[in-house]
């Protein structure tokens, strides 16, 4: 399965990112994008999977000191 993940940063002010990955994101995991580290606080499957692709939205918050 290929996961297309929309990473949304809480509080606005950061555009977040969309990327494909081979592992499902999980709450508590840390992810790095835009030269910054974030912790995942919520994972939503808003759209049903189609073929080999799953579509997820992951809400995350910046890890303090990672900027």
């Amino acid at each position: 399965m290929i996961y297309q993940v929309s990473y949304v940063v809480v509080g606005g002010g950061h555009p977040g990112t969309i990327m494909n990955q081979e592992e499902r994101p999980e709450v508590g995991e840390r992810v790095e994008f835009a030269d910054q580290e974030f912790e995942i606080v919520e994972v939503l499957e808003i759209i049903p999977p189609r073929g080999d692709f799953a579509y997820l939205h992951a809400t995350c918050r910046p890890v303090e000191g990672s900027e």
Partner: protein
């Protein structure tokens, strides 16, 4: 021009549900580009003829504003994501500026006229890819809505 692998194209949502033969025809249209950090790939309000797929690296999408001195980032795009698709759909000017944010950002590039000619030959390819573009735009809109909720 380096031939793009159909195995790589299979891992892109844009080409989901295409057959191997259809993927091979798409691959023959693709060319590769590599960009360094801060290279501007497309510029807002410029004419557009190409669709881009990020194979490696990442890019930042930015919008200009008459009230701000510089463009504002609206989303980062990573591996497997597409940009430039709006112009493929409506033939309009670029809706945003996109720059590479990592050295060695590798892109697949498809010319709009080449793609339309292929769709004229095989309308099923056109249906599948346009359906996938619609789904991708929907996903981006949902991302934007969740970002600003």
């Amino acid at each position: 021009m380096n031939m793009v692998s159909t195995d790589l194209l299979k891992r892109l949502g844009l080409f989901s549900d295409l057959t191997d033969d259809q993927l091979a025809r798409i691959a023959s249209l693709c060319r590769e580009e590599v960009h360094d950090k801060d290279d501007v790939i497309v510029r807002e309000k410029e004419p557009s003829t190409e669709l881009y797929i990020i194979q490696e690296g990442s890019a930042q999408v930015m919008l200009g504003s008459p009230s701000l001195p510089g463009p504002t980032p609206i989303v980062h795009l990573g591996k497997g994501q597409i940009f430039g698709e709006v112009a493929l759909v409506d033939q309009g000017l670029r809706s945003a500026t996109v720059k590479a944010v990592a050295n060695g950002t590798k892109l697949y590039v498809i010319n709009r006229d080449d793609f339309i000619a292929l769709c004229d030959q095989d309308p099923h390819i056109g249906y599948i890819v346009m359906r996938n573009i619609a789904a991708d735009l929907s996903f981006k809109l949902r991302h934007y809505n969740l970002t600003w909720r």
